[in-house]
Amino acid sequence: MGFFLSVFRLMTERKTLIYETLLQHIGISLTAVLFITLVGIPLGILISRHPKMATPIIYITSVLYTIPVLALFGFMIPVLGIGSRPTLFALFIYGLLPLVRNTYVGITGVDRSIIEAARGMGSTSRQLLLNIELPLALPVIIAGLRTVVVMTISVATIAAFIGAGGLGVLIFRGITTYNTQLTVAGSILVAVLAVGADGFLGIVEKKLLKKIKT
């Protein structure tokens, strides 16, 4: 218990640093998730429409997913420099796979008979997508998004590595200056942020699904 008290004391002592890194962390994660969503969902829809493209695109995103972040930072400095650019790039290529794949699986997994029925009633391809496929695929897409959000928030600790700040600063600083409390403080905040964001999306998901059903 005494240890957690000392962590709490440290958090109040260094509150400007903690506040600053917390905001940076939220900023980086939000921006990354935004990019991932704006690219990932349309890309998932696109490959569900063109099954020939599906395998290569999912394959490419899987390969990107396996590149170690640190290696990426090392060889991207001449191109992307340091700071938020390489960080966003790294988070982007990591987050793409879960969302693209879930969107694709969600849409292609919609019961064929429903689609045939809608077609039979004269739905255009666009109506089909917006009124039938997307709403029915939504739970799977949102599940993908939640994975992306939690993963992005925790992976965003590596932002500190390359000069983009964030809660990783507390974690790395704690390790390099033998200050365990600082490391624990950073880790707790990352965990709280990730769990909080996931919970929030859970609520959004429930509301959305209710809306669609009615």
Partner: protein, 302 residues
């Protein structure tokens, strides 16, 4: 035809992203200097000292960029790119890791002069005068063990090395002035070797998992764990004088930066550096506070 819209979205967005990335590059304004540190206590303190002094002495916008992965392999390309303007570097590191020199120069001042000349010619980077201390590698053992086995020098250690376990960070096993050549020079024959992160070496020696570690000669924790530094009686390790490395164009544009940082020349000796490191690592002081106290004591800031 309707699908074209959806097809285009990802491509438009990727273009948009790339565009914003390119635009970001123009972010470094003329009246700003950006400093960075290597990821360990001593470097944090040195950088905080430079930041505070520059804020005090100049009208520039002084920024300290936290790059926790900021080893030389990250910071050197970054300073070449102009992403950062100033960081503290060590002569030995520059000589071997950046300039890729094979030969070992044993005179510290000569090494500094060589590095300074090469940096200016090759990279347009300037080495300002050194802070004053030499943070070289050394070998350390617990004081009681040293006494029991009667070890004072590396050569003494070689005689009993077959009873001892050696621990160091993975880098040390890769370096030219690292494990392999060290073993060859002194004829060490350790019972076992263990690789661990820098921050874990002291806990490991405390718990008895290792007996001998490589250490930095200015490490504050040597003081805490009651360890002694052995004497490098064959002068194996090169010198690592620390000094600010600054982009030449910054010094030309803002001569006051050089004037300000030169005030730090020779002010910090090994004992003072050990003491400041100790305050951060052991007394858990914020490096910025330690830096501020140093500058106030020296009368460089109010």
């Amino acid at each position: 035809m309707k699908m074209n819209f959806f097809k285009l979205i990802p491509f438009i967005l990727v273009l948009f992203m790339m565009g914003s990335l390119v635009l970001n590059t123009a972010g470094n304004t003329l009246d700003r200097v950006i400093l960075a540190s290597k990821p360990f206590t001593e470097s944090y303190i040195l950088t905080e000292i430079m930041v505070l002094l520059l804020q005090h002495d100049t009208n520039l916008d002084v920024e300290y960029k936290n790059i926790e992965g900021g080893t030389t392999s990250i910071l050197h390309p970054a300073i070449l790119q102009g992403e950062i303007d100033i960081y503290p570097e060590y002569t030995g590191t520059a000589w071997q890791d950046v300039l890729k020199k094979e030969n070992i120069v044993s005179d510290p001042q000569e090494l500094f002069n060589l590095v300074q000349a090469e940096y200016e010619e090759q990279f347009q980077l300037v080495w300002l005068p050194t802070f004053g201390f030499n943070d070289t590698f050394t070998l350390a053992v617990k004081a009681d063990l040293a006494e029991k086995l009667n070890i004072k020098t590396y050569s003494d250690l070689a005689k009993v090395s077959n009873q001892l376990i050696f621990g160091a960070e993975p880098d040390f096993f890769e370096r030219k002035d690292g494990f392999d050549n060290l073993v060859e020079t002194y004829g060490f024959n350790f019972k076992n070797t263990k690789q661990m992160a820098i921050a874990l070496k002291y806990p490991a020696i405390l718990s008895g998992e290792v007996d001998v570690i490589n250490a930095f000669s200015t490490d504050g924790l040597l003081k805490r764990y009651d360890m002694i530094i052995l004497q490098d009686d064959k002068n194996f390790f090169p010198s690592y004088l620390a000094a600010p490395v600054v982009r030449k164009s910054v010094l030309e544009l803002h001569p006051e930066v050089g004037d300000s940082l030169k005030k730090l020349a020779g002010l910090i000796d090994e004992n003072l550096m050990i003491d400041m490191n100790y305050q951060v690592d052991e007394e858990k002081k914020d490096p910025q506070i330690v830096a501020r106290e140093f500058l106030t004591n020296q009368g460089l800031i109010e």
